[in-house]
Amino acid sequence: MIVLDPLDRIILRALEADGTRTAASIARERRTNPSLVARRMRRLEETGALRGRRVVFDKEALGFGVTVFLGVKLATKGRVSLEDFERAVTAIPEVQTVQHVLGLYDYRLRVVARDLSDFERVLRRRIMTLPGVGQVDANVLLSEERRPGPLG
């Protein structure tokens, strides 16, 4: 586990707000040593605490009008079926995230599609044909926001 000090928190908060910020610009704003900030940024990246950066798009402008979350229950369970399912579901380009969960479902999928009829095509041809797939429940995303989290 990586323990953060106040400078690390400042860096992470700045990068959460804008992932293109450089060590020099954060150092200038905080009136601190740029090479120290650069070193800390590198440490956060190398330890994996800062896992990477993600481009935020206007999905609609690019023709992806719907995002749907699917709760998937497997019909048959066992080591082999989990692996088969995971391998097959990961390969679907419209499936952005796959989380293995405990609770009402076994997996939670985030799926993007051009519109509802495109989503139906993905659901019928790609999702419902996955190995071992059982009950599937869908919720259409209306809005989402990411919060800064407990950085103090």
Binding site: M1, I2, V3, L4, L15, E16, D18, G19, T20, T47, G48, A49, L50, R51, G52, R53, R54, V55, V56, F57, D58, A61, L62, G63, F64, F69, G71, E86, V89, T90, E94, V95, Q96, T97, V98, Q99, H100, V101, L102, G103, L104, Y105, Y107, R108, V112, D137, A138, N139, V140, L141, L142, S143, E144, E145, R146, R147, P148, G149, P150, L151
Partner: protein, 152 residues
């Protein structure tokens, strides 16, 4: 705003590696540096590229527990959604807020240091949120795929 194949090619490489210098991005996308600059600039000012955000791995920072809480709200209260979301924003451990069309109204992604800590947040900060009709929890076990990239 019109998006052509060149834009899509640039965006495809950009989303795969948001930290890439523009010169390298131009080379990967097979366009000149000038074209790449102009296209990126146009996509940014046109709002297609909204920004870049850092992705933090909370587990590496000692937040071992991640739970997806799915809420049904009491819709007889006219401002149920607004009031619920406004209060959820005040909880630092809530890292994502999503609203849906479907059986689930709102979903919160909540992180905690360990199970006792989760229990405490759940009782004192979550169950006290307004207008909850029903809650159900999915505990995250593993992330199988996490590429919030678009199939451009």
């Amino acid at each position: 705003m019109r998006i052509d194949d060149t834009d899509r090619r640039i965006l495809r490489h950009y989303q795969a590696d948001p930290s890439v210098p523009v010169a390298a991005l131009a080379e990967r996308a097979g366009v000149t540096l000038g074209t790449c600059w102009r296209r990126l600039d146009r996509l940014k000012t046109g709002g297609v590229i909204r920004g870049v955000e850092a992705v933090i791995d909370w587990r590496k920072l000692g937040w071992e527990v991640e739970v997806s809480l799915r809420f049904t709200l009491d819709k007889t209260a006219p401002r149920a959604f607004d009031e619920f979301i406004a209060d959820a924003r005040e909880v630092p451990e809530v890292i994502e807020i999503q609203t849906f069309l479907g059986q689930v109204d709102v979903r919160l992604n909540v992180i905690a240091r360990d199970m006792p800590h989760y229990q405490e947040i759940y009782r004192t900060r979550i169950l006290t949120l307004p207008h909850i009709a029903d809650v159900e929890a999915l505990m995250h076990v593993a992330v199988i795929k996490d590429e919030e990239t678009l199939p451009l």
